[in-house]
């Protein structure tokens, strides 16, 4: 049993292109300059597109983007836990809920809604967000002794218990969570700037009115980018190597001087802090959070994101998050154009049902064609692009040392 997870997580699989260069098995050092520069170009272009998008896209796309950012941050945490440390968690939605409700309760003010009183500390939102992340980290730390003793599917099921406990608490602690009807999420403010829509004044940027979605979009971009860079630094350094050693063979890691159970605890701590941060973003994206959101289905969705993205890879987690959180809504939006669907109200396959089928098929096809997930597909595309670039260049400047491919 002890090796079942390492079977699931192949030891020397290509985990995107992130480990390359620092891993002993990665590409040799002299070849790094070119691809790195190419990647900077791609990243810069992507960033410009992301920053310009709120000027063009309507509320649907922006709202979808907010959910994708929140999902990406949380998925990075799970990717670290599952892909790097080799620990299966089905309880990720619990830590996301701790972050979301932690932020809401800390930043919200005490007030009476109907007959029930809702408690809140009315802290500055930025402080509340930081504390909510720490709170989620604390929850992860409390769970880590269990994580250190269980492995593979056993750990998965144990963490599943967190989701059930979490659901029960969320429904039955109305003073903190608002119970079934949920709780309004206070707008985020940073240095006096409010990430929300106010009726008194509207912010115009280049003639475009900036409401809640547009403002939160930039917050989402910034937080996701920071979370992504943190992840890469962590994974490329000493802690990342130690985690992978623990994942691949615990005895080997221990012999090489890695404190195994402490690193397993670290992994849970950092992963649940990522989940908490994702939870804060998710709460802001929703505007009102209800307990039913943070159930089993969400936990499975996060698992799907990291598997679809490609285990352990930062870019893969982000791509997987975008895939899982956006594709169903996008398909639903455009499903009506498909021919041969049943008209409203009658029997047969409606556009909404067709969209669900399409989503399921897309997941299966992606994993069949590219078992390494979106990250592997991405690096294959990048390699193809690089070959294309070479060909173009070699046609223009023939170089004897580098034959054209």
């Amino acid at each position: 049993m002890s090796d079942s997870l390492t079977d699931v997580v192949p030891v020397d699989r290509p985990t995107g292109s992130d480990d390359r260069g620092t891993d002993p098995a990665g590409a040799p050092e002299p070849r790094r300059r070119g691809p790195v520069r190419a990647r900077y170009a791609v990243a810069l272009a992507g960033l410009v597109v992301l920053l310009a998008l709120p000027l063009y896209a309507d509320a649907f796309w922006l709202q979808l983007g907010l959910f994708a950012f929140a999902a990406a941050v949380a998925a990075l945490g799970l990717s670290l836990l599952l892909g790097q440390a080799g620990q299966l968690s089905l309880g990720h939605s619990f830590f996301v809920a701790v972050g979301a409700y932690g932020y809401t309760a800390l930043a919200g003010s005490s007030r009476t809604v109907g007959v029930s009183r809702q408690a809140g500390l009315a802290l500055p939102p930025a402080v509340a967000a930081v504390l909510a992340v720490l709170l989620a980290g604390l929850a992860g730390l409390l769970f880590s002794p269990i994580a250190a003793r269980l492995r593979g599917i056993y750990l998965g099921i144990a963490s599943l218990g967190l989701v059930f406990v979490g659901q029960h608490v969320l429904f039955n602690a109305p003073a903190l969570t608002g119970g079934f009807n949920g709780r309004n999420v206070p707008d985020f403010t940073l240095l006096g700037f409010r990430f929300g829509t106010s009726s008194e004044e509207t912010l115009f940027v280049l003639g475009v009115p900036f409401g809640r979605e547009e403002k939160l979009w930039y917050l989402g971009v910034a937080v996701t980018a920071a979370a992504y860079l943190c992840y890469r630094n962590l994974v490329r350094g000493r802690p990342g190597r130690a985690l992978r050693a623990v994942r691949d063979r615990e005895a080997m890691a221990a012999i090489m001087g890695v404190p195994v159970s402490r690193y397993k605890g670290y992994a849970f701590l950092v992963s649940s802090m990522y989940a908490g941060l994702g939870g804060v973003l998710l709460a802001l994206a929703f505007g009102r959070i209800v307990p039913e959101t943070f159930g089993m289905a969400l936990a499975v969705e996060y698992l799907a994101m990291v598997v679809i993205g490609g285990l352990g890879s930062a870019g893969g987690a982000v791509l997987g998050a975008v895939f899982v959180s956006c594709l169903p809504a996008v398909l639903e939006r455009y499903a009506a154009v498909l021919p041969g669907l049943a008209p409203a109200g009658s029997a047969g396959v409606s556009p909404a049902v067709a969209a669900k089928f399409g989503y399921g098929a897309a997941v299966i096809v992606l994993l069949l064609v590219e078992p390494g997930g979106a990250a592997a597909a991405g690096s294959r595309l990048l390699a193809a692009g690089r070959r294309f670039g070479c060909r173009v260049r070699s046609r223009r400047i023939p170089h004897p040392s580098q034959p054209a491919r």
Partner: protein, 422 residues
Amino acid sequence: MSWSSTSPRRIAALAALAALLVAGGCTTKKADTANAGSSGKLATGPGVTDQAIKLGVLSDRTGPFAAAGKGIEQGRLLFWDERNAQGGVCGRKVEFVVKDHGYNTQNAVTAYAQLKTGVLALDELLGSPVIAALQPNVESDKMLTLAASWSSSLLGNPYVVITGTTYDVEMINGVDWLSRNKGLSKGDKIGHIFLEGDFGENAVAGSRAATKELGLQLVEHKIKPTDADLTAQVTALRAAGAKAVLLTTTPPQTASAVAVAEASGFDATFLASFPSFSPALLKSPARAALEKKLLLATSIAPVSATSAGPAAVRTALAARYPDQPKTSFVIYGYAQGQIMAKVLDAACKNGALTRDGLLTAFQSLADVQTDGLVAPLNYSKPGQIPARQTYILRPDAGAVGGLSQVQDLFESTLATSYQPTS
């Protein structure tokens, strides 16, 4: 294979070009004032053109309430297709933008963001967690919303329209009817098995008020939606000597409770909230027990009712969807159409087909009659329960829609004076 063709200079040039495009204001998303215009004397809001009024529908087509969503859609189409053929409202056809959320709050919030700028109001919002999640949005967007829920907790939001009585009033009228017709006397015990969450808590508030007023004792059992077998609760109520049992449960749980009681010879009458029964149960082995023991308290007429409204819907339904199940949700959807038509008519008369105009028009409706589809509704007092009359129905496999009428619309004196605590 280095990639020096992407020189820093080239990257800088590309970035500058992109920045120029952005800053140059090539945006297609300028502040849109064309939507909120006016034509002639009529002020119009989002989704209103000279030819059409667009309304949003945020429903469940792929989740656990897909059947309910489909029934409501059939009712809506029956009403509006006829109405549009007669010229629509305010000289405009009423059209619908339908979105599925599959009972998932995230999908619902996204779909709402897509809908909100293009529709005048929401003609249907289905699913309790979805309604809870979207309440602040509905309020900040001033979006009049016909919610497919009957919870008193929605009364605080002026933009949410409840079609019928609330769950607590259903139970008050139900307990009152049981006490008069099933020979309950002071001190007798009544059981109430209810779901945790908004639906159950709201219903139990009503049964608490009614039993207190009538001098009955209430024995409460709270359950979870995932509980499949209610043997423990029914046995406990039987041991306690309950004369009647109220059910605010899921339909499978209702079947379980009634079947267990029948098998163990527990002869109490069971009375359920409207969403706790589904005609599909009459195809299950519990059918005989359900027909014998169960009653329903609801403000929505059964498809088999004899009054003019339900009869007309029944005929139209049989003609247009002959092979589809005929549920009370069709009646409900049709009634929603009538209410929305009245709101739009009133707004048109006031010369304001805007979001604000719709709220004003809605709050001016003091007496909405739907030919017996649902109890008469009064929306002129914000924050108050719009209707306090209910039918008493019983499951009947022989009737269209699986329900037949036991007691016509009535309002108990308790229900008249009742005020929800929230």
